[in-house]
Amino acid sequence: MTVPIEYYVLLSMGLFCIGLFGVLTRRNALMFLMSVELMLNAANINLIAFAFYHGNLTGQVFSLFVMALAAAEVAIGLGIILVLYRNFRDVDVTVPTTMRW
């Protein structure tokens, strides 16, 4: 039996909203990174689901790209977090506001 497309979309939406919620409410930079990963994965689910639905592989290739991007983003994000910690002795994203203007 095939799962209808609506379920994938609902799953992706839920996942995305959890990620968005994390980004908007959490102050810990690491939680930020994880939430962004959740949102990216929500996008990936959509891409793969639609690719499967339309019977074409482009979406799946794109999801591979997104994973590579996510890896790169985490690498840079962790670097930023390390610098953040070194400068502020904390990973709370609300503390460093000195680069406002």
Binding site: L20, V23, T25, R27, V93, T94, P96, T97, R100, W101
Partner: protein, 680 residues
């Protein structure tokens, strides 16, 4: 004379080089810059004479040397207008070049005795000023278009500022220099407006040639030219208005009423500078400009009548003030204003030859009188009050006789040069005035001024040279050297004989052909088409009438002016040619006080400045500060306030940015959705 004109620019460039040399190396030169100045003006004089000879042999020169801007004038002038530097040498400018360079040369020579011998400091600055002055006047004289003329007109004004304020450590000289600059500059604003108006109307600023604004104006008046005339004015009115705007500059520079007040104050400068300003450069520039663009004024009877009336009025007005002055240079200053009034009167009644003739004669005898006054000042150990002089006749014969020649010419006594030109002006005014009451009034004022001229001239001569010495300085005058005497003698001879150039009354009475200047200006040797006396005559709208016959009119005009000149001189003889002259001022009563205070001209101009202009400019300033600045500041306040509100979005907290992005995204989605009709 092949190629003579190729050297025309050198006439003006010589003094410019002298200016640079005197300024840069004057300190190290033996005579502090006098030698290059003398050499340069001598060179200019020689080249000017060469040009005169070339014109006499039938050639003229009109060439554009440098074009510095080309643009579209808009309006009727559809082809682009060109702003150029060019040279125009015709009989008028060739004559004027000789006059200017001759007087400048003699003034330079005179300065050796007047400035160098007196141990002045700042001599390089003085000679540099003279050089620049001569340069700007010569370049003004041969300018071939109105804009170039305007530029050098301004430069002449600047030079007068520099030279009148030569003794800048005193209190009065800088003030006089500022006054001269500002008053003439005030007139020049109108001149500039006139230049712009003429350029916009006719699309050309050339004095001569087919593309001259005179031709364009003539064509426009005849109805077959295209000219831009603003605000539905008639072409007549517009030509008159532009002519009068240019006349503003003339009134300022030539010290005509009501812009004459700077000139008596300008006596604060060295006497040699006064001689140059009054005889050949600055004051002459205004009248020369009218003569230069006479064709344009000839198109407008109204403008001509105004010129004539202002001239006649100024002639009388200034002559009355000259009567009561005690300072020898002040008398000469008012005399200059008065004499330029005569020239304006002559030009205004269409007497182009008479006006130019008087300009020439006046250049010689007024330079002579000023240099003579300079000589007297040296003799008197720098005393200028005539009441402290007296008895110089025997002690300084050269100064006396040359000064007397100048005085006779100024007073208009036959047969000295001033008589011939002044008489011709009055004759021209009379024959036009017969049919025209306004001109008649101007003529009457000019005629009455002859009496005053005779009186103040000989009052000056008698007080200065006759009678008993009235001070120690007059008892034992300081001797003067050759460099003072030679210019006086040269100018003295010219003051006596220059009248030969145009013996018009004799020519009319005896029917002999001796009006050389008239032939010269009529282009019988060489002339540029349209710039001759004959061509101007065709443009004029005046009717010439006579009283009885022409001979009778000539006799009446000459007889009246001679009679008045003699009675003026005679009155001065009676009152002041006594061993111990006394002032007769109290006999004039309150009128004397008014005249002595120059008719309160300065006072009323100061009142105008303080009572009218100052509140007006205050109001303008208030308007500027509140309304204009208010609008500008208001606009910037809005953007300042907006940005100060916007900058609150910048918290530096990543969460807020993320929330903003999401909110924005959701709003965008909603808007697109609503517009796309998803929810309907």
């Amino acid at each position: 004379m092949e190629g003579a004109f190729d050297y025309a620019p050198a006439i003006a460039l010589f003094p410019l080089v002298a200016f640079v040399v005197a300024l840069a190396f004057g300190k190290f030169l033996p005579k502090k810059g006098a030698i290059p100045g003398i050499a340069a003006t001598a060179g200019s004089l020689l080249f000017s004479l060469w040009m005169l000879a070339a014109v006499a042999s039938g050639e003229t020169y009109h060439e554009t040397l440098y074009e510095w801007a080309v643009g579209n004038a808009g309006g009727a002038a559809t082809e682009g207008i060109e702003f150029t530097f060019g040279i125009l040498i015709d009989p008028l400018s060739a004559l004027m070049l000789v006059i200017v360079s001759l007087v400048a040369f003699l003034v330079h020579v005179f300065s050796l005795g007047y400035m160098n011998a007196e141990g002045e400091t700042g001599l390089p600055r003085y000679y540099a000023g003279l050089g620049l002055f001569t340069f700007s006047m010569l370049a003004f004289v041969f300018a071939d278009n109105l804009l170039m003329a305007f530029m050098f007109f301004e430069l002449v004004g600047l030079c007068s500022f520099l030279l009148i304020g030569f003794w800048f450590r005193t209190k009065s000289a800088p003030s006089a220099a500022k006054k001269a600059f500002l008053v003439t500059r005030f007139g020049d604003y109108f001149f500039l407006l006139g230049v712009v108006a003429i350029a916009a109307t006719f699309g050309t600023l050339q004095f001569a040639g087919d593309a001259s604004f005179v031709n364009a104006a003539d064509a426009a008046l005849n109805g077959d030219g295209d000219a831009w005339v603003p605000a539905g004015l008639s072409t007549d009115t517009w030509v008159t208005i532009t002519g009068l705007l240019v006349l503003g500059g003339v009134l300022g520079k030539s010290a005509q009423f009501p812009l004459h007040t700077w000139l008596p104050d300008a006596m604060e400068g060295p006497t040699t500078v006064s001689a140059l300003i009054h005889a050949a450069t600055m004051v002459a520039a205004g009248v020369y400009l009218v003569a230069r663009m006479f064709g344009y004024y000839a198109l407008s009877p109204t403008a001509l009548a105004i010129i004539a009336f202002v001239g006649g009025f100024t002639a009388l007005f200034a002559a009355t003030m000259g009567v009561v002055k005690d300072d020898i240079k002040q008398v000469l200053a008012y005399s200059t204003i008065s004499q330029y009034g005569y020239m304006m009167l002559g030009l205004g009644v269409g007497g182009y030859v008479a006006g130019v003739f008087h300009l020439m004669n006046h250049a010689f005898f007024k330079a002579l009188l000023f240099l003579g006054a300079g000589s007297v000042i040296v003799l008197m150990h720098h005393e200028q009050d005539m009441w402290k002089m007296g008895g110089l006749k025997e002690k300084a014969p050269v100064t006396y006789w040359t000064f007397l020649a100048g005085a006779l010419a100024l007073a208009g006594i036959i047969p000295f040069s001033g008589f011939w030109s002044k008489d011709e002006i009055l004759y021209d005014a009379l024959i036009v005035g017969v049919n025209d009451p306004v001109i008649m009034a101007a003529y009457a004022m000019g005629l009455v001024a002859v009496f005053f001229t005779g009186f103040y001239t000989f009052r000056m001569v008698f007080l200065t040279f006759h009678g008993e010495p009235r001070s120690d300085a007059a008892e034992d005058p300081h001797p003067v050297g050759w460099s003072i005497k030679v210019p006086l003698i040269v100018l003295g001879v010219l003051a006596v004989v220059a009248g030969v150039a145009n013996l018009a009354p004799v020519a009319k009475l005896a029917a002999v052909d001796i009006t050389f200047l008239e032939h010269w200006l009529d282009g019988e040797f060489g002339a540029i088409e349209g710039l001759t006396y004959g061509a101007y005559g065709e443009l004029l709208h005046y009717d010439a009438g006579v009283i009885g016959s022409e001979q009778l009119t000539v006799l009446i005009a000459a007889g009246l002016s001679l009679l008045l000149a003699f009675s003026g001189a005679g009155l001065a003889w009676k009152l002041y040619n006594v061993p111990e002259p006394v002032a007769h001022k109290e006999r004039l009563g309150s009128a004397g006080t008014v005249v002595e205070d120059n008719y309160y001209q300065d006072e009323y101009q100061v009142w105008l400045a303080e009572g009218l202009t100052l509140p007006l400019s205050r109001a303008a300033d208030r308007f500027d500060q509140t309304v204009i600045d208010g609008v500008v500041n208001g606009v910037s306040t809005v953007s300042l306030f907006g940005s100060s509100a916007m900058k609150r979005l910048q918290t530096g907290i990543v969460t807020n940015y993320a929330a903003l992005i999401v909110t924005g995204f959701v709003i965008l989605l909603l808007v697109l959705g609503l517009l796309g009709g998803w929810f309907l």
